[in-house]
């Protein structure tokens, strides 16, 4: 992907993601208007489906937790067994998630909708996982270099040249600090 394509992609961004023009109007905004503007610029709330989904995940996990807690044994209030406390917590979580399903059925104002930009977070996560996998095998230098490059070039829209130069500089600096200066035992190639 070259720089032009990135620009194209950014040009197609939803209106809410575009940088607001830095006009002189801002100077006249009162705190209330500014707060309203922030609210308007803020991403859409996650919505009813996300609310239902997240509450169901919590509900399912807390039911599993309750079952395991019962398996550990609850005991009596005078002599609580290992499962008593986790049972109480997971019961609270289960009840609260049911309440949330009902209260938040219209969606509410919390959370944020996933957008096309959310893929950036997914790619970021994938590179971090890749780094965890590669670090014990080939040391931290190459995975770090890759991570810097991917994050700058594709997730940050830097140009090829600057992304390459900065990646090398950053990894060099980390080598100097973590290996040469601090003498840590981070797995390394050199």
């Amino acid at each position: 992907m070259d720089a032009k394509k990135v620009e194209d992609k950014q040009g197609k961004m939803p209106a809410a993601l575009e940088v607001p023009p830095n006009t002189d109007e801002e100077e006249t905004l009162t705190p209330e208007e500014l707060a309203a503007q922030w609210e308007a610029e803020a991403p859409d709330p996650a919505g009813p489906i996300a609310n239902l989904f997240s509450s169901l995940v919590v509900l399912a996990l807390s039911i599993i937790g309750m079952v395991i807690s019962i398996g550990l044994g609850l005991g009596t209030p005078a002599a609580p067994a290992a499962g008593m406390w986790p049972f109480i917590i997971t019961l609270i979580a289960a009840v609260m998630s049911v309440v949330q399903i009902i209260v938040g059925r219209a969606g509410g104002k919390d959370g944020e909708k996933f957008s096309s930009m959310s893929w950036y977070a997914v790619i970021g996560f994938a590179t971090l996982i890749l780094m965890v996998v590669l670090m014990p095998l080939v040391g931290f230098e190459i995975p770090s270099l890759l991570l810097c490059f991917v994050w700058m070039r594709w997730l940050g829209g830097e140009r090829w040249r600057s992304a390459t130069i900065y990646s090398i500089l950053i990894v060099g600096a980390f080598y100097a600090i973590f290996i040469a200066a601090l003498g840590t035992t981070i797995p390394r190639l050199f």
């Binding site: 940088v19 830095n22 801002e26 905004l29 705190p31 209330e32 500014l34 309203a36 308007a40 610029e41 709330p45 996650a46 996300a50 997240s54 919590v58 937790g65 550990l72 009596t76 209030p77 005078a78 002599a79 609580p80 067994a81 290992a82 406390w85 986790p86 917590i89 979580a93 609260m96 949330q100 209260v103 509410g108 919390d110 959370g111 944020e112 996933f114 957008s115 930009m117 959310s118 950036y120 977070a121 970021g124 996560f125 971090l128 996982i129 780094m131 965890v132 670090m135 931290f140 991570l147 810097c148 994050w151 997730l155 940050g156 829209g157 830097e158 950053i170 980390f174 601090l182 035992t185």
Partner: protein, 511 residues
């Protein structure tokens, strides 16, 4: 002199060159990272937790405290220059601070914020010095039932005061309590939720959770979010406020400091509420309230003094009761536990050097902050010019490599990344990570005290209500738990958003 002996000894601890150096390091690092948009004090401290390993406990906490108030001030810089509050407690600073910057008075705004922060923090430290021993001596008689009630109240307050849905915050807190149960049960020795995994037998470590949820979670979130903002910071000149400015702001600084000190002691979002309350107070007491929002210096001075005063006084519940008042304090609590120190009422008498060392280091740290912040503003502005695209991988690498150095374990790094993904998803689905982390650090304390109480009370839960302190705390707990539900039913029709307020006010003006 009996009281002041240990206080003065505390200065010896601070003036130790190593401690001074770490204090300086903490303040500078805190300011630097605090300047980066998106990473607030909690995330900054979480990312830098590995730095505290291998140093003395006092030194570690002195550095973390330095990072904390350094980051607090760093957030102000972005509020003023970029109209981007670095954190919730600097939001109101934007209103007048950014306008001042647009009028070419950015330097004055930052300078007065630094002076106000210094003054607020100093007032707060003096207050802390006298109040903390009182609170601690009162809490010395606390038994397991009192601790159970106190921990429950603390978690609930943080969950209900934090932003977002209360129910979701309580769910997050329950998840935190649950994660704290993973591992071997201290009472019966039974393995809980380890699924035969040896790495989990000792329980989940606090550091990967904090680094993941606050650090990596924020970093991933910013990857998606930062395309929203790309304004270049403006030029800063005349950092030293003029005599006239200081005169104008002095009342606001004084009022903000006192207000902040008291609001900071209360659990839950102390600094944020303090800055909001101070702004409201300044606007109310001003002769000409219409100046606010148009570059009134009191609108910067008051809230900035208040949030630093509150940030400092929020150490009181942590150091005297062992109950962190907010997410950042929860991380410092975790750091203390790692160092083998359990904060609580005994801390002052058992470990006076640590207690007074940390408290007195705040004087030095704030003096350093004041001295450094004004000349360094140019450096911060330059940092703000570095593109987020280049800063993001740097913070990610610091977190990843830092996580590895804790125990030389790739499993820890993996946990950090996984908790990072969880933190990101929590944010997207409207769950606050703060209550989770807070509940996690208090989890084992709460469980063991609850079980001990049940043993003492022979399994009779009504026994909690026969002891005056635990009964009071539990009544408070019930009030805090039930009140929002009643209130939300009453307010359901009213929209509480600022936008609605704005239109209402406009309508009023028009009428």
């Amino acid at each position: 002199m009996e009281f002041f002996g240990p206080v003065l000894d505390g200065f010896n601890v601070v003036l130790d060159p190593t401690n001074l150096l770490y204090c300086l390091l903490g303040v500078v690092v805190g300011m630097l990272i605090g300047v980066l948009p998106g990473l607030g004090p909690a995330a900054t401290i979480a990312i830098l937790l590995p730095m505290t390993y291998g140093v003395e406990p006092v030194t570690a906490i002195i550095m973390l405290a330095g990072i904390f108030y350094g980051a607090q001030y760093g957030g102000t810089i972005t509020s003023v220059l970029l109209r981007l509050p670095g954190e919730a407690s600097s939001v109101v600073t934007v209103f007048d601070g950014y306008v001042m910057a647009k009028q070419g008075r950015a330097g004055t705004a930052l300078g007065i914020a630094a002076i106000g922060s210094f003054f607020g923090a100093t007032v707060s430290i003096i207050g802390l010095t006298f109040l903390a021993p009182l609170v601690a001596s009162f809490a010395l008689d606390f038994g397991p039932p009192e601790y159970t009630a106190l921990a429950m109240l603390g978690i609930l307050l943080v969950a209900t005061i934090s932003g977002g849905t209360k129910i979701k915050a309580i769910i997050a807190a329950a998840v935190g309590l649950f994660l704290a149960t993973v591992g071997r049960d201290g009472f019966t020795g039974a393995e809980r939720f380890t699924f035969g995994n040896l790495s989990l037998a000792d329980g989940i470590d606090f550091v990967p959770i904090a680094m993941g949820l606050f650090g990596v979670g924020e970093i991933l979130y910013n990857l998606e979010e930062r395309h929203r903002v790309a304004t270049a910071p403006m030029k800063v000149s005349n950092v030293w406020p003029k005599g006239k400015d200081i005169k104008e702001a002095s009342g606001a600084i004084g009022r903000g400091s006192v207000l902040g000190f008291f609001l900071g002691i209360l659990p839950g979002g102390g600094a944020t509420i303090a800055s909001l309350a101070s702004y409201a107070m300044e606007k109310k007491t001003a002769k000409d309230p219409s100046r606010f929002g148009k570059g009134a210096i009191e609108g910067v001075a008051g809230p900035e003094s208040a949030n630093n005063a509150a940030a400092t006084s929020s150490f009181i519940p942590l150091l005297t009761l062992g109950i962190p008042a907010n997410a950042t304090m929860a991380i410092i609590f975790g750091a203390l536990l790692i160092q083998g120190i359990t904060p609580g009422p005994q801390l002052i008498s058992n470990d006076p050097e640590l207690f007074w060392g940390v408290v007195n280091s705040m004087y030095i740290g704030n003096i350093l902050l004041l001295i450094m912040s004004i000349p360094l503003i140019g450096v911060f502005v330059r940092i703000l010019r570095i593109r987020a695209a280049i800063l993001a991988p740097i913070t990610a690498l610091i977190t990843m490599l830092g996580a590895y150095t804790i125990r030389n374990s790739m499993f820890d790094v993996l946990l950090v990344v996984i908790f990072g993904a969880i933190g990101y998803l929590m944010k997207k689905f409207g769950f606050e990570p703060g209550p989770l982390v807070l509940a996690f650090v208090l989890g084992s304390l709460l469980e063991s005290n609850l079980r001990r109480s049940l043993l003492v009370l022979e399994g009779d839960p009504t026994g909690f209500f026969t002891r005056p302190i635990s009964a009071t705390l539990l009544v408070l707990f019930v009030v805090v738990a039930v009140w929002p539900m009643i209130k939300s039913v009453i307010d359901k029709r009213k929209s509480g958003s600022l936008a609605a307020l704005a239109t209402q006010e406009k309508e009023k003006e028009n009428a």
